[in-house]
Symmetry: none
Subunit: 201 residues, 4 copies
């Protein structure tokens, strides 16, 4: 995660502690006093830097979102699509890439998910924006493979919805609900198989 550079040791401890505590107990159940204590700084230092508790949250969440979603953007997509790969290969690359990213930023991911689910306000601000990004990017990919005749005959945006539902459920259940460190290759393969072929014999 590319957080603003040139933080002092104390400032780094603040964001570390904040992420850890927000991930563990949720933003609303974490007091600035707790963060200060965990970071071994004064509360005042937190407010000097971030102004409000809310801005502290945003300053953690936003860089994560920027990498979580648009990262799979042009670079990734184009390279993948230019190669002679199947959608299954693309999906495999995508899942492995995102699993790796989330594994490395598991706590921030937890914070992001928890707060999007919990804070109506934040959700309403972010969801349309995220939905737009995801849709616009992925719909190209779907369209690309669809024209190649790789998918069964259902509308592209139905495919998108189902994928989104499953992949979202996949990441959230593993990284947030079960609090797993990572997801192993075997499970990724299970997921890919499920997505590609379903469960019917």
């Amino acid at each position: 995660m590319h957080l603003p550079e040139k933080l002092t040791a104390k400032q780094e401890r603040i964001i570390e502690s904040a992420i850890r505590l927000f991930a563990e107990k949720g933003y609303s159940n974490t007091s600035t006093a707790e963060i200060a204590k965990a970071a071994e700084v004064s509360e005042a230092s937190i407010f000097k830097q971030y102004g409000t508790k809310d801005k502290l949250l945003l300053s953690l969440i936003i860089p994560c979102l920027k990498e979580l979603f648009p990262a799979m953007a042009d670079e990734v997509l184009h390279t993948v699509m230019s190669k002679a790969v199947t959608f299954e290969d693309f999906l495999r690359g995508f899942l492995k890439n995102r699993v790796e990213f989330i594994s490395e930023n598991r706590e921030i991911f937890q914070v992001v998910i928890k707060e999007i689910v919990y804070k109506e306000e934040l959700k309403n601000e972010l969801l349309p924006y995220l939905s737009e990004i995801v849709t616009s990017r992925l719909s190209k990919v779907i369209a690309f493979f669809r024209e190649r005749g790789e998918f069964i005959d259902i509308p592209a945006d139905t495919i998108l919805k189902m994928l989104f539902t499953f992949v979202g459920g996949f990441f959230v259940s593993r990284f947030v609900l079960l609090n797993l460190r990572s997801i192993d290759d075997r499970e990724i393969e299970d997921a890919i198989r499920f997505v590609m072929d379903g469960i019917r014999k």
Copy 2:
């Protein structure tokens, strides 16, 4: 929802207000004063009835959980399995039944999901219990249809996991994230098709 019967008007107003507010803003961001005001009772009345704010939450969540998960238990399962239905039929019945139940109890469902995601503590108490219930019940069903040869050749509990992931994502994304009133039949059919056959041609 079978909440304890014989509630006075005031008691009903309290739980209605609590559910509405918890669903909207989350338990942590709702004060007992707000609930009291919305329910047009004194704060003291709430505490007389429920002892603590936490017990109030539990008294809303627990009846919902009891119906949400175990409801699909013996009655449903046995009847379904006894008939000569395919897994697809079972899944259709199950989804429709649960969509109906959640539609009618959307706000409580939102509270349940939000708090399970948010409160590590609550999650740790409930997840093993829920997981046990779901697993024990559904694994019988899976095993039943598996023996009938309806599934591709993957372990039963992999099937269970994938189903759980997808169905959970399905309900949460629609009823919590998107705050939909219900899910129409067409989308249910899309989901069934996705689960059964995946997306590959």
Copy 3:
């Protein structure tokens, strides 16, 4: 001062303490903790009742203003003017009446003056309103005595301004700057003489 009736003992102690401390140190230099301590109540009790520190201030100031200015309204004015009195008599009655009122409410008067002088915001809200009340009431009186030929030949509103300047300075210097308990009759007579005849032989 007619403050809202039916205050509990604690509630009365709150307003007493607030008035005393605001008068002594000014609103901005008095913390709610100090008020609570002086009143021997919890800070929470103050906020339960008044919501904010600002509303507490207003709830002290407004009843005082209502009596301070419009009190000299219809009752006083009409009776005075109906009698065959001179302006000097009217002024004497007015000054004595107001001195008595302020003596009895010296601390609130101090709070009112201090905050009007100090808080731009409060001043801008109150001054136009007060000015309107004073002007509309007193200009009638001035006009009345002016037609009787009691005044030298200067515009009525010049007389009003000079009176306001002097009487304001009189009350503020004595009751606020010098913190006097009251103003004795001799000084009132000096003031009347000054207003009526100036200082030139």
Copy 4:
């Protein structure tokens, strides 16, 4: 205003900002952070220069007081008294001179008045001192014109008090309450007439 010479640009910006903000919102409602921001210096610079916020206030107030009151001292008084002028002429010169001075230093005057009214502590330190200065200087003047037979037969210090009350009210109401930039000659003449002859025909 003769503030200490040789101020660097930064130091000037500090006192300008401080005066402006103190005049506008009052000392207690102005933070050193605000001053630093307005002056475009670091807070630390303010404290390096002035030690404490209180000393900053005093360093603004004291030079003003020195010119506001004693300025009318020896030079002014003697010259005026030596000429064959009436008290009315003296008063006219005095008022015009003070109006000019305050007009040019309106904001500092506002700070001085506001803080004297507001801070019991400051008031108690300054009032006896100021009163002594004013009394000792002006009582000579009053005595001078009194012996010339210009005044009606009331004690000199009663005249002094009334003058002080009116002139104080005059300046404060115009420059502080109404926040006027200056006072025009017509109003000064009205004031002089009022002081000299009162309002009785």
